[in-house]
């Protein structure tokens, strides 16, 4: 990768994407977006930022492919098993008090963590009265998530994670394996609605007792982090929970005084009144 994107080029590209395709990456962390643009240029064999701009302006298909590169689509079931253990022990029992439970998974990628949440709720006997709203920016992630199909190869790691998270059932009960893939059981997926929501431009659409948004904030700059935290605050019911990624922190956010810490290491917070 010898190509270089100057700051001016970077802003041009962000602007083209915003004006022509309606996706605003202005508030994303620059180091990461730049690196991903360079990877995309390598993949497309574009040697200069000018060529990238030219292709983006003239070819919608190039933009669709760029989306796959800009958004990070890496995820696991029961990623950070200790976090799921804390959810099991400290959060899920509190949700049981609500007659109807509403959960928002923001930035759900291809759905692995949403399915994990559904399993926790199932095991706590709460899934039948829960609705999980799972959103992402990237439509092709959502398509894959809604299909509920995952590569079989991953299931060994996911089973390990599940056991470490305190899972006691036979993990293979939650899916059907066929050839090289597995299909997550319909009874888990029935309670999940996948749809597109852009944390940058879209607004509050419901009220939740738990919002999970893990490893999404790291791709945002501090201003955007602040505005998304405000959106989550406004979307939580009083005393509702917010779970972030293990390395994400509310420490530097304007709004941190309005949350209390439930688990400092696993980054579980709770909205004050």
């Amino acid at each position: 990768m010898k190509e270089v994107i100057s700051n001016a080029d970077f802003l041009d590209i962000i602007n083209i994407v915003k004006l022509q395709y309606g996706y605003d990456f202005t508030g994303y962390a620059q180091a990461s977006v730049k690196r991903r643009l360079l990877r995309f240029m390598g993949h497309m064999r574009l040697d200069t930022a000018f060529e990238l701009k030219h292709r983006l302006v003239n070819d919608q298909d190039v933009f669709s492919r760029l989306m796959q590169y800009i958004t990070v689509n890496v995820t696991e079931m029961f990623r950070d098993p200790g976090f799921y253990r804390s959810l099991r022990e400290q959060v899920i029992p509190k949700l049981a008090a609500y007659p109807n439970i509403k959960i928002w998974h923001a930035g759900c990628s291809t759905g692995e963590e949403v399915f994990s949440m559904a399993i926790l709720l199932q095991e706590a006997g709460l899934l039948s009265r829960t609705k999980i709203y799972a959103t992402d920016l990237n439509p092709s992630n959502l398509e894959r998530a809604a299909a509920g199909i995952l590569p079989l190869d991953n299931m060994k790691d996911f089973t390990q994670n599940y056991i470490q998270s305190g899972g006691l059932a036979d993990f293979s009960n939650y899916y059907t394996a066929r050839y090289d893939n597995v299909l997550i059981k319909k009874e888990l997926r029935r309670h999940i609605a996948f749809f597109q929501h852009n944390l940058v431009t879209d607004t509050v659409f419901n009220e939740f007792q738990l919002i999970c948004c893990r490893n999404v904030f790291i791709y945002f700059n501090r201003d955007l982090q602040n505005s998304v935290l405000r959106l989550f605050f406004d979307s939580l019911s009083s005393r509702g929970y917010l779970a972030m990624g293990l390395k994400e922190t509310m420490r530097f956010a304007d709004i941190h005084g309005k949350f209390e810490t439930v688990h400092a290491y696993h980054k579980i917070y709770r909205r004050k009144e």
Binding site: S32, R35, R36, V72, V74
Partner: protein, 186 residues
């Protein structure tokens, strides 16, 4: 004497742990430049790596947006890539493995080359793959200094060797000489 570096970054993989603890033992408290370490480590296992690396100094696993502070030693958290942003804050990244690794030394070195340019010192230690070589070359290309542990003294030579093969200007030094350079910065 004016300090030459605003940051010292060290990457290591297989066979680097003992060497690294040896180096960290002599990092003086009055060294202003932050030290940023990237080590290949196991995923999804909570480990006490920071304490293993040094009994004398606090090793910080930075959180996202944490400012890079002087007089501090940082370690890339397991299962995340660690980068530095232009305003000298840390950025964590959970994207694909790079060189089969997350954290990847290349990712950290490359962002440091972008941000610190000629004011960066990169050190690549023992390791069994080529992660870090391209990043070290970027540090050198940006005007910084790139050093590898002499492959003859490394438990696994692939990592330093790849950097030597990849670009000109890589300095090959013994651990004792690497320590002298770090102490010389104070």
């Amino acid at each position: 004497m004016k300090n030459r570096f605003d940051v010292i970054t060290i990457g290591g993989s297989a066979g680097s742990l003992l060497v690294l603890t040896d180096i960290l033992d002599i990092v003086p408290h009055h060294l202003a430049a932050p030290v940023i370490i990237v080590l290949h480590r196991l995923r999804n296992v909570q480990s006490e790596m920071g304490r293993l690396l040094s009994s004398k100094r606090r090793i910080i696993e930075p959180e996202d947006k944490e400012p890079v502070r002087e007089h501090s030693i940082y370690l890339a958290p397991q299962n995340y890539h660690l980068m530095v942003e232009a305003e000298k804050t840390f950025m964590l990244d959970y994207s694909e493995l790079v060189n089969y690794s997350r954290p990847s030394i290349d990712m950290t070195f490359s962002s440091i080359a972008d941000v610190y340019g000629a004011r960066a010192l990169g050190i690549l230690l023992s390791g069994a793959n080529k992660d870090g070589a391209a990043g070290l070359c970027q540090i050198i290309a940006a005007g910084g200094v790139g050093i590898v542990q002499d492959p003859q003294t490394a438990a696994f030579e692939a990592m330093p060797q790849s950097a030597i093969a990849m670009c000109d200007g890589v300095q090959i030094l013994s651990i004792e000489d690497i320590k002298k350079i770090i102490i010389g910065e104070t």
